[in-house]
């Protein structure tokens, strides 16, 4: 699964630590999702969508 986390984060001038704090996860987790090492669960994906105030499909796309 591809994602636009890094771009969206950069647009808002957030560090990985900032996003991690908003999501209540570790910075390591944000990095793993951002780099495509780990696909988040649906609840976490919804939380990410809420934080960015975007629909899930605008953040995550199908594909490697």
């Amino acid at each position: 699964m591809k994602n636009r986390l890094k771009v969206l984060r950069a647009e808002r001038n957030w560090s990985q630590a900032d996003l991690a704090e908003k999501l209540e996860v570790s910075r390591q987790s944000v990095n793993a999702i951002e780099t495509g090492k780990y696909d988040p669960s649906l609840p976490l994906a919804f939380r990410i969508a809420d934080v960015f105030a975007l629909p899930i499909e605008d953040i995550f796309q199908r594909g490697e």
Partner: protein
Amino acid sequence: MVARMTPEHRRYTRAVMLLMGGYVATLVGVNLFFKNSAPTGLSAYAAALLPALPVIGVFVAIGRLLTSLRDEYQRYLMTRQILIATGFTLSVATAWGFVESFGLLPHVPAFYATVLWFGGLGLGGCINALLERCGGGE
């Protein structure tokens, strides 16, 4: 297991330290009991079992840590670490058992499986760290 000390990890560390203290105390106590009293029957079995209880408690603490982790990626890493430890222990124990059955290795007490498993956790931690560094993972 992870770089950052979460409240869950602090609770786990406290529990493990208490249990390890209990382990040392019961092991010393039971050894002295067997040395001085030479118990038999049910009391001997009950006393001999005592040092195992804090170790079993550590397994419970590990299980509680795994289920209490709110960060799902940390839970994923810990699950992988435990799977590596379990696979490692079962592989070594199976291999040892077969070689031992042909009289090529000495008999080893079963509690060494626990020692192996904790060694396997260390191995799993190293593999996790390596995969994190190399960008590997799922």
